[in-house]
Amino acid sequence: MPKSKAVRREKPRERFSYDPTKVLTRLEEYGKRILEDIKSGKNPYFDIPMRGIGNVYFDEKRRVIRMGDKLSRRYFLNVAHARKFMQTLLIMAYVKRLVSENKHASLREAYYANKHTIPGTKENTFEDQRESDPIIEDLERMMGVLREEMHLTADRRGYIYGDIVIRDGEDEFNTSKLGMGGWAVPGTVEHLQFVEVNVDYALVVETAAMADRLIEEKFPKKEKALIIATQGQASRGVRRLIHRLHYEEGLPIIVFTDGDPYGWYIYSTIKQGSINLAYLSDKLATPEAKFVGMTMDDIERYGLKNVTEKLKGIPPNKKGGPTADYKRILEEMEYPWFQNREWQRQLKMAIKMGVRIEQQALANKSLEFVAKKYLPEKINNGELLP
């Protein structure tokens, strides 16, 4: 008899859309426009959406953090802009070469590849990777493409385990047949194709220790779940993978973090996107994601009071407060996406109780408890936070 399930795979809403020629066309368009400007005696420029909190807002309708439309104009003929203008073009040309040759480079490689002394001066095109990284970010915002689409990758972090078949270039593999360690998520997931998906949902897990525990307990197999370990804050690759699995494969996303401000923030980033990468929310955020735990209610319900830890910092009602964890929680209470009864209740409770609880605290019951009781119970009963 099939178990009744609260979470079930849905219909896909997006299609696999990776197309390298799109990036190349964009780059050429920009180059041509600059050339036209200079030929007709105009000061050529780039319009780059401004970064920073001042140009970010929460889109209530789509429920993601989005970038505003404030632009900064970067001119060639301006002493303060000229260098960045040159750097922008340098990276653009480099990206064109990368993409057309189908090669990938790390941010650090991109920096070294473009660093050289400008002839006749003692000046380098780039003095520091801190100069090239922001230019790449500028390009993402300016052209509306991911840096992964430009074949520029960041450090990889996170892995997945579950009964899905992935095609990565010439290789095809099932991520539950790669041993207990699963499959490490690469910096770029754009080109991946999901050949077979035999899971009902994806469980995003904050700590690797917990993910390993679940794999050992054969949770993925029993519950037809895909485990995605973020190992702390989710990397861009992982966030993009979550987004794709949700929208291209219809997988419900359930997030499992520690019951503390940092865990809730990880959830918030996966769900709504981040201020830093607000311009990528459409590709990285998954507003439909839900939260399974840890919650403050769990402490009472599963009798975990003795395995909680004290929140750090001074509570708001004490002199000098609020600081540290308390301050973070109060900030999170202000987030538009936490403006609902459930979350406000959780966060208020945390402050009132003055405790945090880790995923691993569940091991206090037994090693199997999380896989056999806690997660199946909550997920199948749909006891999830929005």
Partner: protein, 565 residues
């Protein structure tokens, strides 16, 4: 205890020459380097003054020959008017004789000691006579060897020859042999002295042959011979009792009144009437016993209420009449006390400022020429202030020149002059140095004064420059003079500032332009990759755009916009 007679056996009357022989330092003969400079200074000054008075464009040639250790022959030759034969001994042999010493006139030289001092110095260091070759342009050239008879303060011609002058040469050449001196190319040496002289006298052509045979030429840059200075009558506010007393003894005027009107400036018949009242008032005030009342009366007198002061004394008309009689006396009968009364009254009276037609500044144009010609700067300016008065009645005038950049090496230099004569010593205590340092140069865009390629020349002109010592190398810190120098410097510095800010702007533009140009090759390569357009063509688009932008900028183009505008 010795008897007075005993003591006075050794008593001798010392001649003027004897005095200066013993006190050569007072004439500037101190130190081996300075002594040589002084010898040359005296000769060159005489040459320039003579040429000026004769309206001749000076050509002065200085030659220094090394004869041995600290032993030189100095030759100075000019194209001046020459010296008539009978005056040779006077010019070179007698101290305190000259054409200007007794006149109230701006002059380079000193009181007629100058060249005879040099002859004396040569004589006491080498024992040699000074050889003089001169002609006034007539048919003979005189060659004479001159010595000084120190005891009698008289020149003595040791040997004399007359030569024919078929080419009509005119001028004076003197040759002095001096020992105990040293030629060094330092800032106190001959080279530097002549260089400074050339700057202040752009109408002179000056040449120097150094001991090693090197010829240095400071060519002429102006063809105008400066007008010789004019004699000026002393101003009543600038005289001492002694001046009045002695002038009265010498004058040929018939009465004190005529003497005062005739030999002082700014004294008219009307002023004499006023003077009489003032003297009478002063006499009456002195009869008053109450010190407080006396003070008040002096104050009222200072305010010019002379008539009121007189009326406050009973029978004052009698005193006035007495004083009026004094004015009719023959001047040689004027007593010291009466001279004193006159000078005291002068202090209370108001006079027009002294005439300044006797002052002969170098002039802004000529300073600029001199500085440009000798220093080859990139910027030069000069300011000649109008004449002012110090100490109540001594006219003076200040001019400054500023030269910046070009061949001028880094380091601020002040070139000091008094009546066009370079001052090489005692710079520290000189009012010119104080004034130059008191200016806040940073206000004029000279940020690091001590490293700026900047030369400031200051010339103080007066019939009576207030030197601080006998060496006449430093001007006393007289407030009026310092103020004038400061104002002149600031005026010139403002012009320098205008120049420098323009220069900074141009440098800034060039730097900006370079900023854009250096990125063009990088941009061209990248754009060529992006668009497929040939790199060189892209480069030329950018370069001509920059060119156009800066061309329109010169004529006042639009400003840039900021990135986040």
């Amino acid at each position: 205890m010795a008897e007075a007679n005993q003591l006075f056996k050794e008593f001798k009357i010392q001649s003027v020459s004897e005095f200066f022989r013993r006190n050569a330092a007072m004439l500037g003969y101190t130190g081996k380097i300075r002594s040589l400079t002084t010898v040359i200074h005296e000769a060159v000054t005489n040459s320039l003054d003579a040429c000026e008075e004769a309206g001749i464009l000076p050509y002065v040639r200085v030659e220094i020959e090394e004869l041995g250790r600290e032993h030189y022959k100095v030759i100075v030759e000019d194209n001046g008017p020459g010296i008539p034969e009978k005056y040779i001994t006077h010019v070179f042999g007698k101290m305190l004789a000259g054409t200007k010493a007794h006149r109230n006139i701006q002059s380079r030289g000193q009181q007629g000691i100058g060249i005879s001092g040099a002859v004396m110095f040569a004589q006491i260091t080498s024992g040699k006579a000074t050889r003089v070759i001169t002609s006034t342009g007539d048919d003979s050239i005189i060659e004479a060897w001159v010595k000084i008879d120190v005891d009698r303060n008289e020149g003595k011609i040791v040997k004399k020859e007359k030569h024919p002058n078929p080419k009509g040469w005119r001028g004076t050449r003197i040759e002095l042999e001096v020992k105990n001196v040293r030629y060094v190319r330092s800032k106190q040496g001959v080279y530097w002295y002549l260089k400074l002289t050339a700057i202040a006298n752009p109408h002179a052509h000056i040449e120097l042959i150094e001991p090693d045979g090197k010829l240095i030429v400071f060519p002429r840059s102006s063809e105008d011979v400066p007008e010789p200075p004019m004699e000026m009558k002393p101003h009543p506010r600038g005289v001492l009792t002694d001046d009045v007393y002695r002038m009265a003894k010498k004058t040929r005027r018939s009465s004190v009144k005529r003497f005062l009107v005739g030999e002082f400036s700014r004294i008219s018949d009307k002023k004499i009437d006023e003077l009489v009242e003032y003297i009478a008032a002063l006499r009456l005030i002195k009869t008053e016993d109450d010190k407080n009342v006396q003070e008040q009366l002096y104050e009222r007198l200072m305010k010019g209420e002379v008539k009121a002061v007189l009326r406050s004394f009973r029978g004052y008309t009698k005193v006035v009449k007495q004083v009026a009689k004094l004015m009719e006396k023959p001047p040689e009968k004027l007593s010291w006390h009466e001279a004193e009364e006159i000078v005291e009254a002068f202090r209370y009276m108001k006079f027009l400022a002294p005439p300044t037609h006797g002052l002969r500044p170098i002039g802004e144009e000529n300073i600029e020429k001199g500085l440009t010609n000798i220093l080859k700067p990139e910027f030069v300016t000069a300011v000649t202030r109008s004449p002012k008065v110090y100490s109540g009645g001594i006219p003076f005038q200040v001019e400054v020149g500023l030269a910046y950049g070009g061949e001028i090496p880094g380091g601020f230099d002040v070139l000091r002059y008094a009546n066009r004569v370079p001052l090489l010593f005692d710079a520290g205590s000189c009012v010119t140095t104080l004034a130059a340092r008191s200016v806040d140069w940073r206000r004029y865009k000279v940020d690091d004064l001590d490293r700026a390629p900047l030369v400031l020349m200051i010339n103080v002109i007066s019939v009576h420059v207030p030197y601080t010592g006998t060496g006449k190398q430093s001007i006393a810190n007289v407030e009026e003079i310092q103020n004038e120098i400061r104002l002149a410097i600031m005026d010139a510095a403002r012009r320098l500032q205008t120049y420098l800010s323009g220069k900074h702007r141009r440098l800034h533009q060039a730097k900006r332009r370079r900023t854009f140009e250096k990125y063009v090759p990088e941009i061209a390569r990248a754009l060529s990759v992006l668009t497929g357009e040939p790199e060189d063509e892209v480069k030329s688009y950018f370069l001509s755009y920059i060119e156009g932008h800066f061309a329109s900028k010169e004529s006042g183009g639009a400003e840039e916009v900021s990135e986040n505008a």
